[in-house]
Symmetry: C2
Subunit: 703 residues, 2 copies
């Protein structure tokens, strides 16, 4: 399966040449990247697609603390270019194999006055480019501090953009959709006070990945890949449609502490003539390092349920008591008065295990099992949780034995409260606990401002932390689902035990806030999901929260059927069946889709999409002939014709989960129709989606 | 041995009284502390000794972030006072028992506009006072941030002071001796560029403990006790001889993050008519919490040697190679080229073990045994050491087996490089390593600016860290000697495995810098040592460094004999025989004193002292009839008559290690005379000390 084709050309140029330029053409000649040193020795680049400029002459370089600008006065010392064509196997993913076919250039630059050597490495694919800075070992530079990154992306116009505010600590915003010139990140951020840890920092700052659409219909995504030992990159919108890299600072305003040999993350520009080209791009994964784990047999994608949604709709609590002013070290937990609503009880856990086992759901997340939930939120306390002490009404011996007996895997929950120093101190004991009780997976959480105080969720120190945890867990054969981390950038290739992240606005916001607009899930695959799977927690059937609390006006901003479609449109090897068991029991026919839909796939077909409007994706189950289709729409009702030409020959049965005729996300979200239809690869299915609705289809061979 | 006498009076006063005042008299009526609320409800205090004012009307209170000032508008809700007389046993110490006899007042204040309750607790001893703020559990205050502490110490004049610059990251300064009004901390700090992590912050800032002498001859020390979960207190010298508390900030400028119930450290004012009264005060220890460890049998004071001084005089190195640009994760240590001067080799370790075993030295510290020393100093790198990987030429299997066979205890060395996050991550594995190889003790080091970046050595987060390490080690029966930590404040009572700290300018500065002036060791017992033992590393016989390196002009600023006397004048349960074995072999008769002098004592007699000039102390060996006397002088030659009236009846032999007649710390430091003399408790020994010299005496019963 692995084939490599490399063409290398190597030139050692005479020193102190004047301005020079280089062109790198993608293997299929669709994308060209130009890199040149101008007369002042400043490196620049630009990108064209099919002869049209995508990114105009843009800056390259960094500023180092106490050293100065690495942006001009360079000469070219050497350049190396060639082509790579290889195919690698995924441990899990949208497809079982991924082709990595690109041309590359490594330009070695030397700054005249400092003798500092900086390399710029470019990889040019047929659907975009990646480039990064490399600092090889050298006499003149060993340990240094990055003060600023000077990379710009000079766009050709005032494109429409899907953006969330630049923010050091959260990515849990809905997307705005405006011209670049209309971005106002501070105002946008202030619309979402429900986000606990907002740190917007400039009116003109947005986060990456940033999806844009030009007036001529081209889709452009600016992002990064392999974010390791470096802060996340936000983008400042400067005059003339120039985006400038903006790195998340540490407590002192420094950006990154580096030691040669080292490289920055890749800066990527993905270009598509169709929206689905963006979805199909594998640039982010291809620019990450290969799997680092020796053995991956133990890594198990799964569907799971959770003692979780009840807390969001208010029928249960994470905390065991309503005591205040709790001190982790001295509280006698047995002496607290239970509040009667604690979710993570032995009894509840056993009931969930029964339900999961009966319905083929492999995993169960139990939140609020460990002491400390009474007094932490927003407090910036260091010692909140210890990750090993259960509440008095939760017996891990009983629960883990029962889960084992029923064949259900328990998913640990480590809410760090943002107190990362505390978490790192206690991680060894926490992992020992997991190993003892046989938890193969953990959901981590970072709700709250970070300790070390002054560090941010998206800064270098925290970026290091997330990788540290993934690596540490891998050593103990534990998989990871990180909530509230920095946005992922494809590191799941390198650490395939890192199954998913949240790192965006998940479904739970619908339960207790203004929620996620109906278009939200049509945008995420073009933005957040470029970096890796999201634990979005789909599958909410009881759409309106007034079912639990008559005073609530909150609701999920989709139809029930759209919740089913999300299992296909939002790829993840971890998929939650997020609603309460009793709600699934109310709608057993709809629940059948969740029971059936797999989490492991052979391949994918991106049928059609327009970000912010609609999305239709078909996936073939791994090692099985079945296909699943998910279609979703925004607040508009929508008709769609779906050609099944991807099917093999022969007859199939399509089970179609459709919005009822009068369904509507707001007025009538829970009405649906399930029909069977015989189809072949000649069939064009006509589907209709309600406002805020969708359609979910299972296609299996007719026997 | 334990006797308790408590007298309690309790008044619940009617609310909203006007100004009120309280007096607390020490048990012997020598010290009186006044506390009053003035007409604006602002609490104040003052202190008198024998009818004379020591501290005039001074401020009390704090400022809380987002809450405001807790300094006025209070009413007295309740007050509780009484007297305590108890005696407790030390695990180790200058004496085997310590009496704690004080009067106390707990004043409960309520602020009218906020309803916040703050208590002020005072303890008044015959030699000084301690007071602190307490925040009991209350509805109106749970988690809060201290922005400033408003405590002042309004002195009665422009006293002479022994001070080091206020500094967030180092206490390794020599002492200046000026009037308070003459303090210039920035200029003073800049005189010592050899200190790697200076962070002076204000011209008028000095560190505590601050020793002062009034023009009428009273000695006053201002310090703190039980520094836990709070930053260290520096002192700002404000107009009119007012000292104001100045807390070390975190990265964001905040001082402390607290949760009720909580208390600040004790602020102490120790008062003495004689200088030796300051040495004899037990206020600091008495204000600390009792021993927290269930079992202390395993805690073993000891003398030790080290593969250490060779690095300071340049004959050896910590690093194995001279490679640069080392990365902990990827370096192949076996592939490095040894530099030929690496100290911590298996061979050297065995030789030191042989020497220690032959001379009754119980321990051996080995520095530079673990990989990472090539590329770290001043680099602010996070991952420098892993604390478990030995250099290729150091075999812990062989060394630990050899040490065990010879009965020598190995002392681990953990240089954190200030990268505390890295150390905390790796501490469990590092301790496992120690347990595996039988290291009962560890010397930690914090050379470098702190990571988390923006935190300081003396801030709350690091204060928590030092205690965390002491506590963690205690759980594994390991003793601690912390170098470059915050100054100790008596916590060795609570964690008696915390045998010593450096936290001041140690002997090694003499090897490679302008060194320590001859008066240095006459000041330390009045300042740094009030908080607990110091690992000063005495015992250097080869005084001048040009012995090793003819180009060096560095030297120890004492005579050889003064180095012997330090084993008595600088109390510590850990005492290093710091010089190289070959130097001890050159002077075996003088080395006999180091072999003889114990580290465990029954009692102490502070014979005479004048800080900055001279000091004479006698100590009786624990469970033995032998006494040891140490006398030291500054740069002046000095004669002293020492009455041996503390001896029991009968004849003793005094072995007197004296400076030779023409000895001089600078010109002729290594000449000495050793004589025996029959003495009784009627004897008055006349001793003569050379400039920068001293005298060491062992007195044993004549059989």
């Amino acid at each position: 399966m692995r084939s490599v084709f490399i063409l290398l050309c190597f030139f050692l140029l005479p020193l102190y040449l004047s301005a020079q330029s280089f062109e790198v053409h993608s293997p299929g000649n669709k994308i060209t990247m130009f890199i040149a040193l101008d007369e002042s020795g400043a490196p620049h680049y630009s990108v064209m697609q099919n002869g049209h400029t995508v990114v105009q002459k843009s800056d390259l370089g960094l500023t180092l603390k106490n050293i100065g600008s690495l942006a001009e006065n360079f000469i070219v010392q050497a350049h190396l270019h060639g082509e790579i064509d290889t195919t690698w196997n995924t441990v899990w993913g949208e497809t079982t194999t991924i082709r990595d076919h690109h041309s590359f250039l490594i330009l070695t630059l030397k700054q005249k006055q400092t003798d500092i050597i900086m390399q710029i490495e470019c990889r040019v694919f047929d659907d975009g480019v990646g480039f990064r800075y490399i600092f090889p070992w050298q006499e003149k530079l060993s340990n240094f501090i990055v003060e600023d990154e000077l990379t710009t992306f000079a766009l050709t116009g005032d494109h429409m953009a899907f953006w969330i505010p630049g923010d050091y600590d959260t990515n849990e915003y809905p997307y705005a959709h405006t011209r670049l010139s209309e971005v106002d990140a501070i105002t946008a951020s202030n619309k979402y006070p429900e986000i606990g840890t907002r740190a917007p920092f400039a009116k003109n700052a947005v986060q990456s990945p940033l999806l844009m659409k030009t007036d001529s219909g081209l889709y452009i995504s600016i992002f990064e890949a392999a974010l390791v030992h470096y802060p996340a990159m936000d983008l400042l919108i400067e005059p003339d449609h120039v985006l400038k890299a903006s790195l998340v600072p540490d407590a002192l305003g420094n950006k990154a502490y580096l030691t040669t040999y080292c490289s920055t993350p890749w800066r990527t520009i993905i270009v598509g003539e169709k929206a689905t080209d963006i979805l199909a791009s594998r640039i982010t994964l291809n620019l990450n390092e290969p799997n680092k784990l020796e053995n991956t047999d133990w890594i198990q994608p799964m569907k799971f349920m959770g003692i979780w949604w009840g807390m969001h709709v208010g029928t249960q609590t994470w905390n065991y008591s309503n005591a205040k002013n709790i001190d982790l070290a001295s509280t006698d937990w047995n002496a607290l008065t239970p509040n009667g609503k604690h979710g993570a009880t032995t009894e509840n856990a056993k009931a969930y295990i029964d339900f999961a086992a009966a319905n083929g759901i492999q995993g169960l997340l139990i939140e609020g099992w460990d002491v400390g939930w009474e007094d932490w939120f927003g407090k910036w306390k260091e010692n909140v949780f210890d990750f090993v002490t259960p509440y008095p009404d939760f017996d891990p011996d009983i629960v883990s034995a029962y889960a084992k007996q029923k064949g259900v895997q328990l998913i640990m929950h480590h809410e760090t409260s943002g107190s990362v120093t505390n978490y790192e101190r206690r991680l060894p004991a926490a992992v020992d606990f997991m190993v003892k009780y046989g938890y193969p997976s953990v959901k981590t959480g970072y709700v709250g401002f970070i300790i070390p105080r002054g560090e941010h969720h998206d800064g270098q120190w925290m970026v290091d932390h997330y990788v540290y945890v993934a690596d540490y867990l891998a050593k103990h054969r534990i998989t990871l689902d990180a909530h509230e981390p920095v946005r992922p950038t494809g590191l799941c290739r390198t650490y395939p035990n890192w199954l998913a992240c949240e790192a965006a606005r998940g479904n739970e916001f619908n339960a207790w806030s203004q929620g996620n607009p109906p278009e939200h899930e049509t945008i995420l695959p073009f933005t957040r999901l470029l970096g890796g799977p999201m634990d979005y927690t789909p599958g909410i059937f009881q759409i309106k929260v007034n079912y639990y609390d008559s005073s609530s006006t909150r609701q999920v901003h989709t139809t029930l059927v759209k919740q089913l479609a999300l299992y296909v449109t939002m790829y993840s090897p971890l998929q939650m069946a997020a609603d309460l068991p009793e709600n699934y029991m109310r709608f057993p026919d709809a629940f059948q889709f969740i029971k059936d839909v797999p989490v492991e796939w052979d391949t994918v077909k991106y049928i059609d999409a327009e970000p912010g409007d609609y999305l239709a994706i078909a996936r073939k189950e791994k090692d099985a002939p079945d296909w699943y289709i998910g279609c979703i729409t925004d607040e508009e009702a929508r008709d769609m014709d779906i050609s099944l030409d991807f099917l093999d020959n022969g007859k199939y049965i399509a089970t179609i989960y459709a919005d009822a005729k009068d369904a509507d996300w707001k007025e009538n979200p829970m009405q649906y129709e399930i029909t069977d239809q015989i189809v072949t690869n000649k069939t064009v299915l006509h589907i209709r989606m309600a406002p805020g609705g969708g359609c979910a289809i299972k296609i299996r061979p007719k026997k």
